[in-house]
């Protein structure tokens, strides 16, 4: 009878892969991801305000060339063209009135007035058309600050090269304290990458769990279970469904991974060409343990969702208990920050060894700071044991539940189902 598992698994897999909705959902995810990550900068770059010029009113007369000569490499950010305005002998109020009109007409982003007083005090004001989104304010601030220091030193008679040497940029980076050079990745990029993977596990476990729940409910509501259980063991039905939908999930994830490799390959190549330091943004353990905890988590939650599906007849009824199962995924998401702050503390260690939290929390800990090997091993052993226990328990509920129509079971009834042989 074991052979029935294969056709069931194949049916579960193909009947989902061969639907339009599968491909639409598969395509939507990267499209949305692209939309949210790539589009905003593009839109920002394309937006008019960023290319509108900024007027520098140089009332000192010889400041602008110093500003224009600021080393491009020294300041990051999208630059807007700078326009020189020498004031034309007008009083300051008249200049401001004139430029305010131009700003309100949308011709310029704004203006900065430099006179002897501002040079002395250093109190610069950017009169911006849209102060709240003054794009480029960062580079403008840096450029102005550097050029003013340079200008002041020049006036004091310091030689150009000496000034350059003095004001060369000072930056502040963050790096992991380790003697393993491979692990000295840039902290922030690694964090976002890990965080993304943890979020992915969270969403994937819910998504595919609900698939399993729906699948069981559908079989119950269209009464196909009657035909199925006469031919195959309920256990095979359950296992076939869990494996089939798991295969659907892996297919989807594989498509996404290939897709993202494809579209990011040119950028990765460019980055590699510039500098090798950027490369491993995420540590190797994070990549190795991703499939491990995803698969373990999937089996645990898919089994639970299959059991819930077997107990009820409609989505609405099942939703309540499904919500409870989902809570076990939400709770770890709520303690992400404390765990990130102290990944090897008591709270993090304890919670990450609780099997229902393990896929998210232990994985999170691995991505941040590798926990002791024994803890990783123990978490896997506990999870496997829990999965086996759940499969045993749920299969008992499942074989009775799928044949029960009508009212929702009560707790005592469920306990009785467990005792049926």
């Amino acid at each position: 009878m074991r052979s029935a598992l294969i056709p069931i698994l194949r049916r579960e897999y193909l009947s989902r892969i061969m639907t339009k909705s599968f491909w639409i959902a598969t395509a939507m995810f990267p499209l949305l991801a692209v939309a949210f990550t790539v589009l905003p900068p593009i839109m920002a770059a394309k937006s008019k305000s960023s290319i509108d010029p900024i007027v520098i009113v140089d009332l000192v007369g010889d400041y602008f060339p110093v500003l224009a000569g600021t080393d491009e490499k020294e300041v990051e950010g999208t630059r807007a063209p700078l326009q020189l305005d020498q004031g034309g002998g007008e009083p300051r109020e008249a200049i401001e009135r004139r430029l305010n009109i131009r700003a309100e007409a949308g011709e310029i982003q704004g203006y900065v007035i430099i006179d002897g007083e501002t040079l002395r005090s250093g109190d610069l004001v950017f009169h911006a058309r849209n102060p709240s989104s003054a794009i480029g304010a960062d580079w403008l601030r840096n450029s102005l600050r550097r050029s003013m220091i340079k200008y002041r030193l020049l006036r004091e008679g310091v030689a150009g090269p000496q000034i350059e040497a003095a004001i060369t940029g000072i930056s502040f980076g963050i790096e992991k304290a380790t003697n393993d050079p491979k692990k000295k990745e840039s902290g922030l990029a690694a964090f976002f990458m890990s965080f993304g993977l943890v979020m992915f596990i969270y969403f994937a476990l819910i998504l595919y769990g609900i698939y399993v729940l729906r699948g069981v409910l559908e079989e119950k509501s269209n009464r196909i279970v009657e035909i199925m259980v006469s031919s195959v063991k309920p256990f095979d039905m359950m296992l076939g469904k869990i494996l089939g939908i798991g295969a659907v999930g892996l297919t989807q994830i594989t498509i996404w991974v290939l897709f993202s490799l494809l579209i990011t390959a040119p950028q990765v190549a460019t980055v590699l060409a510039i500098s090798k330091e950027f490369v491993p943004a995420v540590n190797a353990q994070a990549l190795i343990f991703f499939p491990v905890y995803f698969v373990l988590g999937y089996f645990l939650y898919a089994t639970i969702y299959a059991g819930i599906g077997s107990m009820f007849n409609t989505d609405e009824e099942a939703q309540q208990l499904a919500g409870v199962a989902q809570l076990f995924l939400v709770i770890p998401m709520m303690v992400l920050l404390p765990v990130i702050k102290d990944p090897n503390g008591g709270l993090a260690t304890g919670l990450s060894l609780f099997p229902f939290f393990t896929p998210i929390l232990m994985y999170l800990r691995i991505t941040i700071e590798t926990p002791p090997a024994w803890q990783i091993g123990l978490s896997i052993v506990i999870m496997v044991a829990t999965i086996l226990l759940m499969v045993w328990l749920v299969s008992k509920i499942y074989r009775v539940g799928i044949l029960m129509y009508g009212k929702k079971p009560t707790i005592p009834e469920l306990v009785r189902w467990l005792r049926y042989t």
Binding site: A4, R11, I224, E226, I227, S230, S231, Y420
Partner: protein, 313 residues
Amino acid sequence: MTSPSEAIRLVDVTKRYGEFTAVDAISFDVSSGTVFGLLGPNGAGKTTTIRMIMNIIAPDSGSISVLGRSSREASAQVIGYLPEERGLYRRMKVIDHVAFLGEIKGLSRAVARRRADDWLERFGLIEWRTKKVEELSKGMQQKLQFIGCVIHDPQILILDEPFTGLDPVNARALKDLLLEFRQQGKTLVISTHIMEQAEKLCDEIALINRARIVLHGSLPRIRREYSRNRLTIRGGGSLERLATLEGVDGVWHRNGETEVELADGLAPGEFLRRATMVCDIESAVPHEASLDEIFVRIVDPTALSSSPIEGDS
């Protein structure tokens, strides 16, 4: 082929759900090559019994054997089962679905697809083979379910209320097909609460009521037994007065006819001689008890006692 004479044998089979006893110490045999009717009112325990034969649920006590083997090893491969609650995967293609039903019964993929095509051809569904199941009419879907039940060429067919929802043409076609299966030597178990169908098809029956077997055996013998000492009488005058005659156990009026049950030892000739003295008798024939009548008489005796005019003996 040396198959045992009993295709299915149940001995003291009991199944309880908590306090509720769904099947209570049931025993019966289904002889090979016969059409066996598992009869009883709704909720009597027929479906539970069938599910235990199919090894979908396990009995609390008692034993079930199918073709001489424990039902735990045998059921799915040798039995084709058409459940009462019927369903299909609505979004699968017809050919894929039928082949899938064959595959889960242990057929190889290639064989399952070939047989699926043969059966679709036979049921006139071949031009629908690449359509989705949900596009088919209800009658066509029932045909698919039936194909699913016979595609692995089982020795035994168990059909739970097979005629439900069929129009007269399809019901007739199904009946012919079932008789053809019997000709091939297959054993058929038909569960139904509609007695007329059982009457036309069955060689043997078991009647289940309130979790127990209340009647079991060959249909002609049972009918003979229940027809014994009974006469159907047509006539005029006051037929009610028949009840007053000595040796008459009961009188019923049904559909313009009057039925009389005679006490043991009262010969029909003697009864008629006495009867003609109290009323006009046009005809008197030995009563042929219908299964329906037997069923009602056993399952709900009160339904009958309301209509008869009791004898005063």
